[in-house]
């Protein structure tokens, strides 16, 4: 692999002396910059809108609708959400737990599958690789999958949120390619001659040399687990196991959900009239997006590098 790729990508690929004379004209450059500025606004504007609505007085929303600058500032939506923050905090807890356990677990399991099939001397390595690859081509579909988890008694357990993404076939193939391309076979031979067992080779030679691919797949998986709401919507009906994304899903579909634990049915109707529905919804969105925005610069950098690792064809 070309070691310059990473730095070239993050720097946009230009800048060496030869390409300096081969630049686009100032006019074209200016037009493209304008285009990219407009596209950047298109990417960020929705988020700014949601932030600003979440800080607007509900009454102003009813009168003037959503605006990018709040007509009447108010932090009531957030105070309302955090008046009884039990559900939100529990949602965060579930999401963090599932993301951490899922990511670590899937890194380990992916490596445990990729290592044997990356070994040139491993018998049946092609058949074993095909077993992974075939799952990318064919699946039983939602119903048999759902039934398998139900029969195994995994409904309403955190396992149902973790297991489905533990072994992602594409990740196994990326890691296999990395192992066989970057770790010289002679290194493994030498370790064997020195008396190391396979487990020792795996833990003390392979894993330490694989930080780039580990970081990449770790990030992919963090994002997968953190953003997952689908497995929750299929398997979780217990209110105590609701992840943050699924809580957000419930809130946008039914604002009453937030109050379900707090208000009994007889007063729910009266309360509903006074709930700041629009602003609370948008505040909920911000609470849910929060962590992504905070870690985004970090994520983004490694994600881009990771795509290059992934694009190395084996």
């Amino acid at each position: 692999m070309n070691p310059n790729i990473d730095s070239q990508i993050t720097s946009g690929g230009t800048g060496d002396s030869a390409s300096a004379v081969n630049q686009i004209s100032r006019l074209t450059n200016a037009l493209l910059v304008v285009l990219f500025i407009l596209l950047s606004i298109a990417c960020l504007f929705p988020l700014l809108l949601v932030i600003s609505v979440s800080f607007t007085n509900e009454h102003a929303i009813v009168l003037h609708g959503y605006n990018i600058i709040p007509k009447q500032f108010s932090d009531y939506a957030y105070r309302y959400l955090f008046k009884d923050p039990g559900e939100i905090i529990r949602g965060y807890g579930i999401s963090i737990l599932v993301t951490v356990v899922g990511t670590i677990g899937s890194l380990l399991l992916t490596a445990l599958y990729a290592f044997p099939i990356s070994r040139k001397d491993m018998p049946y390595r092609n058949a074993l690789a095909f077993i992974v690859f075939f799952t990318m081509l064919f699946s039983g579909g939602l119903v048999p999958w759902y039934l398998a988890y139900s029969v195994a008694g995994l409904k309403d357990t955190l396992w149902a949120l973790i297991i489905p993404n533990l072994v992602v076939p594409f990740n196994v193939l990326i890691m296999r390619t990395f192992f066989s391309n970057t770790i010289p076979g002679s290194l493994i031979e030498a370790a064997k001659i020195d008396g190391s067992g396979e487990v020792r080779i795996f833990a003390q030679i392979i894993l330490p040399l694989s930080t780039p691919v580990m970081a990449t797949i770790g990030l992919f998986q963090t994002l997968t687990y953190w953003n997952d709401w689908f497995t929750s919507s299929v398997f979780i009906s217990n209110n105590h196991l609701v992840s943050l994304q699924y809580l957000m899903y419930k809130v946008i579909n039914n604002i009453q959900y937030l109050n379900s634990g707090r208000v009994d049915a007889s007063v729910a109707g009266k309360v509903a009239a006074t709930i700041p529905t629009e602003t609370v919804r948008m505040a909920m969105a911000i609470v849910g997006i929060g962590p992504i925005i905070l870690v985004y610069p970090f994520l983004q950098k490694y994600f881009v590098k990771g795509l290059t690792v992934g694009s190395v064809k084996g």
């Binding site: 790729i5 070239q8 720097s11 690929g13 800048g15 060496d16 004379v21 630049q23 686009i24 074209t28 450059n29 493209l32 910059v33 596209l39 298109a42 990417c43 960020l44 929705p46 988020l47 809108l49 609708g65 959503y66 605006n67 990018i68 399991l109 445990l112 290592f115 491993m122 690859f133 081509l137 039983g140 579909g141 939602l142 119903v143 048999p144 039934l147 398998a148 029969v151 297991i163 489905p164 533990l166 072994v167 196994v172 487990v199 795996f202 953003n227 997952d228 709401w229 299929v234 899903y249 946008i252 919804r281 948008m282 969105a285 849910g288 983004q300 881009v304 795509l307 290059t308 694009s311």
Partner: protein
């Protein structure tokens, strides 16, 4: 002897086989057992008798499925949206990647790259909120755009035909950054000597793009397109379920096979028909991947996936 050879292999490489044990079990449970579960599609499933105990009923589920108009609409929507998405994201992402690579300021280029990739990191639940902020009754489009222009507001969540435009827009907004970064990685991997030689020969920028950049990006483009074509029968569930907020009035233009299967199973509880639809989706999906790959192999062998 075959079997003693097999045993000797297992014993000799026992450590490596032991390593495979756990991930292989996950794969068998999560992917392979459900593959055999497709027999549910040919049974009159009831929860009391389970998968194996329920009586066979041949193709009844499929007959029932294709008698519903929904199945056809969902199929049509899935394929047409996916075709549109593949063309749109590929063309736009390649254009943006080339443009980004040509920007004079690397600092700006890096900044735009970060910003355009941002939507890709959001879940579709979050995207559904962002879309709602624009499309809701008090949303930005109605109150900040249409009203000041003296136009009457539009009830987006009941206007099925508008979603033919909304969904592709949301899809490209969310995914184009990812494609752009993948293609950019392809571009910067191209050897600079090609361009140096071209400059000496007096090639214009446009000629360089057409004769060097695009042809050398072709392998990446083909891989990306095969992967997408192979999944043309699988819609992005989040896009079609979350963003329209699962609104019944929008089904004519938002229902796809995946949402159809989901709703048949979890909302109407129709296990048999849902399984039949899933099976139909999986089989045609498989045929399409194989066919696409075969075509690519015919055209240029080294670009095929397998």
């Amino acid at each position: 002897m075959m079997s003693s050879q097999f045993l000797r292999n297992i014993v000799k490489y026992r450590a490596l086989f032991l390593m495979l044990l756990l991930p292989l079990s996950v794969l068998i449970f999560n992917n392979y057992i459900p593959m055999f579960g497709v027999i549910v599609a040919f049974k009159n499933y009831n929860f009391a008798d389970g998968i194996l105990g329920s009586p066979w009923q041949g193709l009844e589920n499929f007959k029932y499925l294709f008698q519903t108009e929904d199945a056809w609409i969902a199929t049509r929507n899935t394929v047409l949206y996916n075709l549109l998405f593949i063309v749109m994201t590929t063309v736009v992402a390649i254009f943006l990647a080339i443009a980004l690579n040509e920007l004079r300021s690397t600092k700006l280029s890096r900044m735009f790259q970060s910003v355009l990739l941002f939507p890709y990191f959001l879940s579709f639940v979050v995207v559904s909120y962002l879309a709602y902020a624009f499309l809701g009754g008090n949303g930005y489009i109605n109150k900040a755009i249409l009203e000041p222009m003296g136009l009457s507001s539009i009830s987006w969540y009941t206007e099925a035909k508008d979603w033919i435009f909304i969904l592709p827009l949301v899809n490209i907004w969310k995914n184009v950054g990812y494609g752009m970064v993948v293609y950019l990685a392809g571009i910067v991997g191209i050897d600079h000597e090609y361009y140096e030689a071209a400059v000496i020969d007096g090639a214009t920028k446009w000629q360089q793009i057409r004769r060097i950049t695009l042809p050398l990006m072709l392998p990446v483009i083909i891989v990306m397109v095969i992967l997408q074509v192979g999944r043309i029968f699988n819609a992005d569930f989040g896009l079609f379920f979350q963003v329209p907020l699962n609104t019944g009035a929008l089904y004519p233009t938002t229902n796809v096979i995946d949402t159809f299967v989901y709703r048949s199973l979890l909302i109407s509880g129709n296990v048999g028909m849902s399984a039949a639809a899933g099976f139909y989706q999986a089989v045609i999906g498989l045929v399409l991947v194989l066919a696409t790959n075969l075509i690519v192999r015919r055209v240029s062998r080294e670009n095929a996936l397998f």
